[in-house]
């Protein structure tokens, strides 16, 4: 299995943020990881990407255990990640931001020219033409975050998109972009989102979390009909 998450558990003091979470991701698929705010999506992401150490359970990526490894080694293993709130290096140029990821990301010591080429490619793929980080809007910053993750040449992309701050056209654009990234780069994608509508259009399968527990998984159409999922989402604006 490409990515196999089994019985992943994380506690913060007495609070169990993620409890016995298991799911699998096949190579080449786009998986939607959804759930209301506070359902444990970001914690799950942090556990896979090495930002947090799991209390129990395992994360196997292409056969190797990556659960509990430091984040830079997870990056070297081929897992790229974006943050919900973009965190660019403001004092570096846009290209430097991405080239840095290209140079260190794959741990292959690219030449300076190669790294910049890769950085430019990634920026082109996300459609970012600006040169300065300063003055970028929310949508452009998300694109930069994506370009930076892509420049590490990941085989698996963990996209913490959370399109909350974007309008409908921008949300559609972001969804199309993830589809394009898979098509052009052959990258497998796990997409975290709490707004279901736009996600359902491009994902192959969904895993739904609530209170740190997987409550449903399967094809988008089936998940949308699931009684437990409807109950969790009922009365929230996120179902749209």
């Amino acid at each position: 299995m490409f990515l196999q998450v089994s019985k992943l558990t994380k506690r913060f003091g007495g609070f169990t943020a993620v409890s016995d979470v298991s799911f699998e991701v096949a190579e080449g698929e786009i998986l939607g990881l959804i759930g209301p705010n506070g359902s444990g999506k970001s914690t799950t992401f942090n556990l896979i990407a090495g930002a947090l150490k799991p209390d129990a359970g395992s994360v196997r990526f292409r056969g190797d255990e990556v659960g509990g490894l430091p984040a830079y080694r997870v990056a070297h293993a081929g897992i790229g990640r974006t943050y919900q709130i973009p965190r660019p290096f403001k004092k570096l140029s846009l290209l430097e931001n991405v080239a840095l990821a290209a140079f260190y990301g794959a741990n292959s010591r690219l030449s300076r020219e190669k790294a910049f080429e890769l950085a430019k490619d990634s920026l082109k793929l996300v459609g970012l033409q600006e040169t300065k980080v300063e003055g970028l809007g929310a949508s452009a910053l998300k694109k930069l975050e994506l370009a930076r993750a892509l420049a590490t040449q990941p085989k698996l992309l963990l996209a913490d998109e959370s399109l909350g701050g974007l309008d409908h056209a921008e949300m559609d654009g972001a969804a199309d972009m993830l589809a394009r990234i898979r098509a052009e780069r052959g990258v497998t994608i796990v997409w975290v989102e709490h707004i279901m509508g736009v996600l359902m259009r491009v994902v192959d399968r969904c895993v739904v979390l609530d209170h740190g527990v997987v409550i449903a998984q399967g094809k988008p159409a089936d998940v949308a009909k699931d009684a437990k999922v409807i109950e969790v989402y009922l009365g929230t604006d996120a179902f749209a």
């Binding site: 984040a71 830079y72 990640r81 290096f89 260190y104 794959a106 741990n107 930076r148 993750a149």
Partner: protein
């Protein structure tokens, strides 16, 4: 020109020369703080070690200076790495005050160890460089050399930080340390390399100082505090701020010393520092 004006100009130029040296000293401390977020209070004691290294290699073992000085730079760079691995690493997550106290402990440890190993007497290289006369002004050649080397050191570091990947990574980690691992960068490695670089800058400083001053176990106290205050005044971690503050401070010392007496120069400079802390407690520049 009136004779008074010439002496004033000489004082200003001497301040400039001193400023270059102080700028180099503050640069290493700022680099370490900017990247690792820890203040090496014992920075000047590393410089003291470097001065002893040059002295012993040159005077005792008869190495020529062009070999002894690079060797001293390497030795202090290694001391920097050692300091990081043995002392800083265990307290990386500790409160800033604990980090300060630990490196403060290293300060007195190095002083005491130097007293034990080398004795308390003042040692000098026995190299006396001539004074350089320009018009009616005269400057110490040692100061001119120190200024030139300091400027080269500052420029070298600047180019390194701008033009290399490692330099870019160092600039990046000083802005957001949590995000660096996502780019595949191991923070531990960057910290170790930065410590070596900071140590090498201290080593360069010791080569320049040993040309002008006798070395003794407490020599660090003559320029450690001033280096630290310059960094604070410039904004801890801001290299540009440190450079500017170094030149401002040096002018206070040199020109202040010219109008009153040398000792007064320091009194005025430190009074200025205290005043600045009321007006701009965050320093000239914020990191």
């Amino acid at each position: 020109m009136e004779i008074f004006d010439i002496y004033l100009l000489e004082a200003v130029l001497n301040g400039l020369l001193l400023g270059g040296l102080l700028a180099l000293l503050s640069l290493g401390l700022n680099l370490i703080f900017g990247v690792i977020d820890v203040v090496w209070i014992c920075y000047a004691e590393l410089i003291m070690c470097g001065m002893y290294a040059v002295y012993y290699l040159h005077v005792q073992y008869h190495w020529p200076l062009y070999a002894a000085m690079p060797a001293a730079i390497v030795i202090v760079a290694m001391l920097g790495v050692l300091l990081h691995q043995l002392v800083i690493k265990p307290v990386l997550a500790a409160e800033p005050i604990n980090q300060l106290l630990v490196t403060g402990g290293v300060l007195f440890f190095l002083q005491a160890a130097a007293t034990l190993a080398f004795g308390i007497d003042f040692k000098n290289l026995g190299v006396s460089l001539p004074a350089v006369r320009i018009g009616e002004m005269s400057f110490s050649a040692a100061r001119l050399i120190a200024f030139g080397a300091a400027v080269l050191g500052v420029l070298g570091l600047f180019v390194f930080l701008r033009k290399t990947y490692l330099g870019t990574a160092i600039r990046a980690i000083s802005q957001d340390r949590a995000i660096m691992p996502l780019m595949g960068v191991s923070p531990g490695r960057i910290y170790t390399l930065t410590s070596a670089l900071g140590g090498a800058l201290a080593g360069l400083g010791s080569c320049l100082l040993v040309l002008q001053y006798d070395v003794h176990p407490a020599i660090g106290l003559s320029f450690g505090p001033i280096t630290f205050l310059i960094c604070v005044m410039g904004g801890l971690g801001s290299m540009a701020g440190g450079l500017i503050a170094a030149f401002v401070f040096a002018q206070f010392i040199s020109v202040g010393g010219f109008f009153f007496a040398v000792e007064w120069g320091y009194v005025i400079a430190f009074a200025f520092f205290i005043g600045m802390m009321f007006v701009r407690p965050q320093g000239l520049f914020r990191r």
